[in-house]
Amino acid sequence: MSKSKYDVQVNPDLCTGCLRCGLACSELYTGAFNPLLARIHVKVSGATCEILFTEECNACGVCADNCFFEALTKTRKEAQA
């Protein structure tokens, strides 16, 4: 994730499983929408939720831009220093 300007933070408690993150990521990097082809994988199972990023994830933050539930947020790296 090091080359990106952003850090992407996750809060699985707020995740609804809407897969908007994966839809946006897959479209950006493969040209077609499919959450299974994304660099983020969200698995909601009743009260539990797991959010994982694949190795190809470059922390571009587009998934966070598409999350309406604050389960993903992005922050500028510089701002944290």
């Binding site: 408690d13 499983g17 909601v44 009743g46 539930f69």
Partner: protein
């Protein structure tokens, strides 16, 4: 530009012979009917032979999504099914927030699935990457929805889409439903029994293909602007947190907050309306339950359950069997009355029916779903019970519409007393009383008529029709008149527009959409030239074809659109705008208004030759 949005294939399976056939989507038909609900109706028109019973192997199930499903446009998640339904005997639509199923079906390569025949043994369908397999479901048969889903997820992983029935569907209970991932239903009217009659326990879908849009640049512009407007909507957070709970005093907000574990949203939905809750204390502490709407979990409270925790416990059981709550409680009340009257011998009624008791209701949900003892008779639904017990029982039955208990109105689960489009829709929707298709501004009680035009324009009501729907009073201070029948015609069309694209029609989402936004999205995604008028025309065509199919099966006005007496008693419905008691003549007039606005014959409800020509349905109307 090649058409986008669609997965591009339809898959046909005959469960009697095991033959599976993949056909490329007919793009001419896709353009003519838009896709989704519209194309489901068209494919059903071809697949259904008139006169065949809902539970016969010849009754096909047509499943489908819409061209926008699978994109990241908001709440483009819907799954539709069209089939003949056992309770009404009519061809009806069933629809659900598709959770993950609809998106996964498309990524498996299919827009539609047509299922015919009856398998010899219980089976489920596995639809993966351009392929379908018929799998043995012996290990799933006899299990509830929750366990079935758990076994299938264990095998296939998440987010595999699952459509499954419980024991009630297996046992052909005509008020059984199918569940999408345990969180949404293809329901009222007996869709679960149609699956059960085919020995079809479940359908699972998952795929690695992707959905492409025809015009990327335009898609980007349209989606960006639309999503921005949703983000900026001042009440978004409130809808996300509370949804309809804020207008349902039945569910105390603090109680809801204390048990809420997670809001769940269908694929692409920025609002979310489904919940996972956990009972925080008491005997059922720790019970986790997912639901299509938390309001459903409180339905038993309407019938007298004193403790909301018992109510949730009971709904978990009812959903697991796959029973329709409105019909179940209606039948329980009816059976209790027949027992009091001695029409059903008291010794057969064990345990005693008490609609406010968890123990009694749980026992009866089981007896009905498994068809044990008297449960077998009750599992016939109102039409089955009345047929078995004869005229003696009839005076004690609630007023029925198309064989079902109306969900809204005097004496119903939702005792709303104003007669708006949803209430009239219970009679005019071909599937019978269902919450889905009749939405309009009358959904919220006593909205002033001045605010209607804004909403009606958004729904695509033409300027010329506004004056026919909202008639001014003669004098300055006189109440305006709302022509509910005419308005309902446009509610149904608006529903068909959203449904054919695959957009959710629930209040939380519908409010953001307009017919012009839909047209822009449809054009960008599919590449078919689409303006609001073409979208409206395609929807008119689809809904009219549904009408034609039912007429073909013998459902004329008199047979289809009968009114319950109960609505016109002193404590019956009131006119939406004036609050005056509703009269049967007024409703008969509304039905004519509805037909007239559609271009259907006022007497019979059949589309006129001019309407058929306008909609280019000549060929379909001959078959």
């Amino acid at each position: 530009m090649s058409p986008g949005g669609f997965a591009g294939n339809t898959i046909y399976v005959d469960l009697s012979t095991g033959v599976i056939e993949k056909r490329p989507l007919d793009l001419g038909l896709a353009e003519k009917f838009q896709g989704g609900l519209g194309l489901c109706i068209r494919l059903a028109h071809e697949a259904i032979s008139p006169g065949r019973g809902a539970l016969s192997p010849e009754n096909p199930i047509v499943l489908g999504t819409g061209p926008l499903v699978g994109t990241h446009l908001p709440a483009t998640s819907r799954l539709y099914a069209v089939t003949k339904l056992p309770t009404s005997g009519t061809v009806g639509w069933c629809g659900s927030g598709g959770v993950n199923f609809a998106c996964m079906l498309k990524n498996a390569g299919f827009d539609h699935v047509v299922i015919r025949g009856r398998a010899e043994r219980p089976v489920y369908l596995e639809i993966f990457n351009d392929d379908m397999k018929i799998r043995d479901a012996g290990h799933l048969w006899g299990k509830g929805v929750e366990e079935t889903d758990a076994i299938l997820w264990e095998k296939y992983g998440r987010p595999t889409g699952i459509l499954a029935i419980g024991q009630a569907g297996e046992n052909l209970v005509p008020f059984s439903m199918a569940f999408v991932e345990g969180l949404a239903t293809l329901g009222r009217g007996g869709f679960g029994a149609v699956m059960g009659s085919k020995n079809l326990k479940a359908v699972v879908a998952r795929g690695e293909r992707g959905i492409r849009v025809a015009d990327k640049k335009r898609y980007k512009e349209v989606s960006r602007a639309f999503l921005k407007s949703m983000r900026e909507y001042p009440y978004l957070k409130e809808w996300q947190d509370l949804g309809l709970v804020k207008s349902f005093p039945l569910v105390p907000v603090e109680q809801y907050k204390a048990m809420k574990k997670r809001r769940v949203a269908c694929v692409s939905c920025p609002v979310g309306c489904k919940d996972v809750v956990e009972i925080p204390d008491g005997e059922y502490r720790g019970l986790v339950k997912g639901t299509s709407s938390v309001i459903n979990l409180y339905t038993p409270v309407i019938y007298g359950f004193k403790d909301y925790r018992e109510s949730i416990r009971f709904m978990a059981l009812l959903d697991d069997y796959g029973l329709d709550m409105f019909e179940f409680f209606g039948i329980m009340g009816f059976t209790a009355e027949l027992t009091r009257r001695g029409i059903i011998p008291a010794q057969d009624v064990d345990p005693e029916i008490r609609v406010d008791s968890l123990a009694s209701m749980s026992a009866w949900a089981e007896k009905i779903s498994l068809r044990r003892g008297l449960g077998d008779l009750l599992a016939g639904g109102f039409p089955g019970i009345l047929e078995a017990l004869g005229p003696e029982a009839e005076p004690f039955a609630p007023s029925l519409v198309k064989g079902m208990h109306p969900y809204a109105g005097p004496g119903s689960s939702l005792p709303w007393d104003l007669f708006g489009t949803m209430e009239l829709g219970q009679v005019l929707d071909p599937r019978g009383p269902h919450v889905g298709a009749g939405g309009s501004p009358t959904y919220f009680a006593k909205r002033p008529l001045e605010v209607f035009p804004k909403h009606l324009r958004r729904m695509g009501v033409p300027e010329g029709a506004l004056g026919r729907i909202l008639q001014k009073g003669e004098a300055e201070d006189e109440e305006g008149i709302l022509r509910v029948g005419r308005l309902l015609r446009y509610s149904h069309r608006w529903f068909a527009i959203l449904g054919s694209l695959g957009v959710c029609a629930r209040a939380a989402i519908n409010r953001f959409y307009s017919v012009s936004a839909c047209a822009e999205m449809a054009e960008a995604v599919t590449g078919f030239p689409t303006d609001p008028e073409t979208l409206e025309l395609r929807a008119d065509r689809s809904w009219t074809l549904l009408r034609i199919m039912n007429l073909r099966d013998g459902f004329s006005r008199n047979k289809q659109e009968t009114l319950p007496d109960r609505w016109f008693r002193e404590d019956g419905f009131k006119d939406y705008a004036t609050g005056d008691p509703l009269r049967p003549e007024t409703v008969e007039k509304m039905i004519e208004d509805y037909y007239g606005e559609w271009g259907w014959d006022l007497e019979t409800g059949a589309p006129t030759p001019e309407t058929i020509a306008r909609l280019s349905l000549e060929e379909e109307s001959k078959k």
